[in-house]
Amino acid sequence: MDNYPALIVVTPLLAALLAGLAAWIEDRLSYPIALMGLALSTFFAFKVLMQVIGSGTIHYRMAGWAPPMGIEYTIDLLNALVLLLVSGIAFLNLIASYPSVNQETNDRAASFYTIYLLFVTGLLGVTATGDLFNLYVLIEITSLTSYAMVALGDRDRGPIASLNYVFIGVIGASFYLLGVGYLYLKTGSLNMADVAHILSGIQGSSTVLVGFILCMLGIWIKMALFPMHVWLPNAYTYSPVAFSRVVAPLMTKVMVYVMIRLMVTVFGLDYIFNTLHLADAAVWLATIAILAGGVMALAQKNLKKMLTYIIVCEIGYMVGGAWMGNQLGMTGAILHIVNDALMTFALFLAVGNMVYKLKTIDLPDLKGLFGKMPWTMAGFVLAALSIIGVPPTCGFFSKWYLLLGALEAGAYHFAAALIISSLICAILFFKVFEICFFESLAGGHETAHGVVEIEEAPVSMLIVSGLVSLSIIVVGLYSGTIVNSIILPFLK
């Protein structure tokens, strides 16, 4: 069937509405509906990826109108990959979320699922669309749902974090909208391919330059690149754990995707790197972001908050890679979208399990966790190693490409920042491991018979956590395949 591209996005939307409606009849109905919607969406995304690999880019015309007039979905290799990533992670997270949603937002579970699905719809739409303005609308859906979700989390701090997020998020989205306006003024079109075509003739225009800067600023604010990151740590820390598990890996990564999409498809790498001279500045910004993220993470006493700063740091990786101006850097950035999504997801899954059992995740409260929750910790360790960049986890391989790209571009400061951030992450995570590993038995040796009682999270959470952690290794080992069959053909 050739309606798959639309169905990827529409299925979760429909499921969201049905789940919302079903809740009025029977609260318990909404979860299976949500699950089904995301399962279907994942299936469609997988189909589309296969189709794209097999037969090239898919163009899907909404309402049947030809591109510049109507809205078109252009699914190429990059989209398809990110679509599968988004829907897959959202689906897996939903499986793992059932217990924690019941625990955290018990009386509002149905509304939670509805908003969750709308959020995923937004992300999928952002990824699939080939229209600049449609992108804006979908960004707003994701933002609005995240505002609501963040406020739902921590009773005291949630609303404040959320309102801050609203202000900064609106500035970001509005900048993007303005940028699109500038482009529209010069091109008269909104379709990405069409705009790109027209732009290639008017590269010298200051309006295009400002449009470009505005779009980038907007997206950077949305992805929380370093000086514009202030909203992220609080927002992600205080949101309900079932939501932070999906927003942390996906939101920023999808925004990075948008940035790459704008750079590659709309403005063209040639324009960015040969006509403008902003690349150096952007790479420096990314370098600073990496270091600042790492250093700020060191100062945190709450595990979840620490991880959010690591996200800030990882964003620097991707931005730097994309702005490196060579194929290796861009490959690294794209590969890191996938890898970082998986790693962050695995980390937050583990955090979710801990929160489910411990209710708190301030670092001192994690004592003896290796004994109590061995499986959770195993997943956590794997993901952490991947963030540090230990082979054969996937984090190493994207770092590999990023480093190569940095060397090729002569951006030694960026390479140094990558290495330093690896070290910082190592310190960070081993600090956590030490707490979890040593503190339990501080009183002295325990004999082989004194087995620590295991108090693990529910099985569904553990299975998802295990699956994702394993996928970190599998994706790492097959990163050559991903690069050769998806990323390189896309960049050609």
């Binding site: 303005f133 804006y136 609308v137 707003e140 933002s143 609005l144 505002y147 609501a148 406020a151 009773r155 005291d156 701090r157 609303p159 404040i160 959320s162 309102l163 609203v166 202000f167 609106v170 500035i171 509005s174 909208l177 303005l178 306006g181 529209y184 003024l185 909104l190």
Partner: protein, 134 residues
């Protein structure tokens, strides 16, 4: 002066939108009261809408509703000149943008009420104080 007047006149709408946007942005960054910030946010968004609407404007053209179309199916027999009608596309975009902005506004207001319920204040500095006290 006589030379620059047409230049100013030709683009004043664009310039004023920049001023409005700066007002809005300033309020969002510098104001202490959350509600004031929200007002700034709205001004900021309307400025962008003004910008888009200005893009769509065409001199000597009328609103984008085709006249004499009520006559029925032979309407398309009459030739439609594009120059007679204002560009409808920015209007469409801005309808969506207005909707988005009112949605955001509603949610933000709800958040403000929640914050007030919890902390009994909407001033940022006082909020910061209350949080650090806890």
């Amino acid at each position: 002066m006589t030379d620059s007047l047409p230049y100013i006149v030709a683009k004043y709408n664009y310039w004023l939108y920049v001023i409005l946007m700066m007002i809005g942005l300033y309020a969002m960054i510098a104001k202490n009261n959350l509600i004031k910030k929200l007002v700034g946010m709205n001004i900021f968004q309307t400025a962008i809408i003004l910008f888009y609407v200005s893009i769509g404007y065409k001199t000597d053209a009328t609103i984008p509703i085709i006249q004499n179309a009520h006559g029925g199916h032979d309407a398309h027999a009459a030739v439609i000149h594009a120059a007679d009608y204002i560009n409808p596309l920015p209007h469409v975009l801005m309808l969506t943008a207005i909707v988005v902005s009112v949605a955001t506004f509603g949610v933000a207001m709800a958040l403000a009420v929640r914050i007030y319920q919890r902390y009994q204040t909407l001033e940022e500095d006082e909020l910061r104080m209350r949080i650090s006290e806890e």
